[in-house]
Symmetry: D3
């Protein structure tokens, strides 16, 4: 299971991404937590819904970057955030790129380029995907908290989870989520819709 | 919970799609089956990976159709296939469109148009999404069978699950999957990778 | 899988009802939620325990109505409450009856009559089953809330969930549950037994 | 949590029966196995559907016996079959009856009498419930095997699981299930419906 | 499945201990609760980490007692605490010892002696294991509560769950856990780390 | 969450190890797979049961090495085997040791020394733990296969999973497991006990 030989091998292997849970939720006792596939779909939807409202975004490419942005977790797992303190600097990025190289072998080189663009994070499209990656986290945390999960306050306190890429549209959504959170804490057993 | 008022309401509600399992698997004892979100991501990936290889496909729009194609299941659930024999003809399609109207209210009208295009299924892009919707089913069934699930043979016998939309690229993948299935039946405890 | 040919086919198919979860709980993040089978058992128990205390109830027939009241969900699923706004009026009732017709084919016609009686809801026995169907919902919601589930307040606010069929015995239990709920909200981490 | 004080206490406690899995399945790796509530519902349905076909059965009382037959597992759990070799003879029966005494305290004495009738197992109604208790086991095992579970052959080999209470109707169903099992073993990945 | 014939039979059977959940959690709605295997590992770790700090403890033997202390649950299940009121006095202890006799047959007699020492509970090593058995319960309850589980207050109120075996090191940890619990109740949605 | 300040912080954090599933099983569709805690308990039991039979083993220290051997996975997760091809050589070992340093801070230095001994793998005790780490894998795979899991053949084909550390006792168990596997493949639906 190194380089995928055919497109079909890739399609079959990708199904396994549904079994890679987002580790941050697993380690905080969230039941039946989001898979990396589910996270990826929601990030893509956010990019698509917000990208049309932002001038100068190539929406089609932004969507493609979102599509590939987390695929390496299929082979190296979703490392907990704290793990980054223990691995040598840069080793995770190298591992991700090497994984993508083998994984996406049956696709045109352009697919890997989209991933490199994401890692570098300098184009507006890559920045938007990175911002939506965080926005989706806070959206999901809000839903889990409204469902009764108790130990997610660390997510709200870590400023790295609120990187908006400089996009007003994203920042405003973060602020709206913070306002709803403040209300929810007052009325802890209430639904997020109210 | 009728018409979504804001984009944020929509984003929050969409997270729930992760809790809508694909009913065909649930009713056949597949453990921890694919959610509609996961199915949607895989269909989108197939459309993206195959669409570049097919002349005359507007890849960007095909991806957008894939993105919205199953969202109504958030509110009406994923009805089992057999249910279609019991509901009055056309009632499900009406329910799906009415749901999408309320659900996607905060998005531009174009989003609903993409869904209508999918329902009508006449453009090449809509046909490709419909073909990939079936292709993803057979890909997943193959993976579940390799993992030990036993009661999925009905899927292989139903010709409706092999609609290729007239695309050679899809038909060849169906054929490759059938060949692997034939080998697997001979060696039932074997991995799909071999 | 249309009309069941034999009793054994019916018995085998009914086992699958255990895999149909109650959608209202699934969509609100309840973990490992009640199956339709479990709901049905509890409704039947309520009917049996309360029916003896109510004059003029044919207990034996009431129990039989409870036994069949939700079986159609085996084939058409447990539609979320919101779905009823999207399907054409009456289409769900038609689908349920058509399903029961195929499902219960190996049983005497009387079984289908019991279901028709439930749908019409005019006899005291059918009214009692309908009231216990709601009572069981609020009983279960109370237990889930005491276990830490957070997003169930909608159930308490919907008057349709408190239909008591005109039976004092049921109304008093609804009131007792509301009183316990009021205490629980004050002491949110407490057990429902206290 | 000894004697239930009120009917409502009983109704609330009974919801927990959904969290008591049938231990025989748990210990053989069946995923998401039947709860005692689900087992109880199916036994009751079998008694109801078969009882009308058997002369001399008081169907209404047979159904009531089925309703209460496994409730003690709420407090003492579903002991694995092998456990009966280790507990002193008769101690489990005593524990069951003592449990039922506390559990059913808010119900009329008749409820406990139904349970005593079940334990003694001498009336035709009690014998029918005991036979259907076993029949349901083999029906469920058949479904689990068709879904891919592998380690259930012990159930087929234990003659205690085929006690038919002297009822032809039950014996014939056991025989039909054995015939389907024999076919399934030849074609191990096949659906039980074929 | 009575006396294990070989070490390998024992090793295979022990894997099943992972499927025996701790009943106290199951019956209070804890999702994906600790298995008896997991409980056993944590008790052993506590014994090891605390035992070095306590004069006069034979650490090596204390660890061995912890290793075997709950193995009988493999065959007789983890009986709910309330069950002990219903079984005849002493019958559970007899069942446990008889189970261990069959289970550990391929090991030297010394293994069974370690279990007898645990049951008698008179040596300092046995007392330490019993104290850590309770300490682990309260540690785990604390974690589950921080994750949002609501119905665990009974554990805090039962003095039997705070038996410290006379060891200051254990008593101080119980007190520290009570202090954190008091803070958590004030701020119910907070993480246990703060 | 870097260096644990107190023993209690360590004990609380260790509970989370129950939520770290063994990734090799997750990615091959095993349902409810073994946690790292469960794996660790079984390895420890194997070391204890086999260590007494091997001359020259310091059993007490071997057990302690087994106790700590996988704890770093609490913070860096259980990386899939394939991940080791993508991370720079040695980076995982460094990450593991750095994690243990922070994690075990409240314990005497000796705890970290036990882990270093495991990583180096040169003492007989460390070699025995490493051999039992593999032996437990094949024992568990055997159980999962007997339960119906289908895609585990890769484990049998990878010679790295059969490292016996030079211990005859371990090698003979590997051979016995291979013989049972060969029988199971002939009779795929059979129980591992036969």
């Amino acid at each position: 299971m190194r380089r995928n030989d055919t497109l079909l091998d890739l399609f079959l292997e990708l199904q396994i991404l549904d079994r890679v849970p987002r580790s941050g939720y697993v380690l905080r006792g969230v039941h039946d937590p989001e898979s990396v596939t589910e996270h990826s779909w929601h990030v893509l939807f956010l990019v698509w819904a917000l990208g049309t409202r932002i001038e100068g975004i190539d929406l089609s490419r932004a969507v493609e970057i979102a599509l590939v942005h987390d695929l390496s977790e299929l082979r190296i797992g979703d490392l907990p955030q704290v793990a980054s303190h223990y691995f040598p600097e840069g080793s995770k990025k190298l591992a991700e790129l090497a994984t993508m190289h083998d994984l996406l072998a049956p696709l045109p080189e352009r697919a890997l380029d989209l991933y490199r663009e994401y890692q570098q994070g300098t184009t507006p499209e890559a920045r938007l995907v990175k911002a939506c990656d965080k926005l989706q986290l806070i959206v999901k945390v809000s839903v889990y908290e409204s469902w009764g999960t108790g130990a997610l306050s660390e997510f709200w306190e870590n400023p790295n989870n609120f990187i908006d890429g400089g996009f007003t549209e994203v920042r405003e959504l973060f602020e709206a989520l913070r306002r709803r959170k403040a209300k929810r804490t007052d009325r802890p057993l209430d639904d997020h819709r109210r």
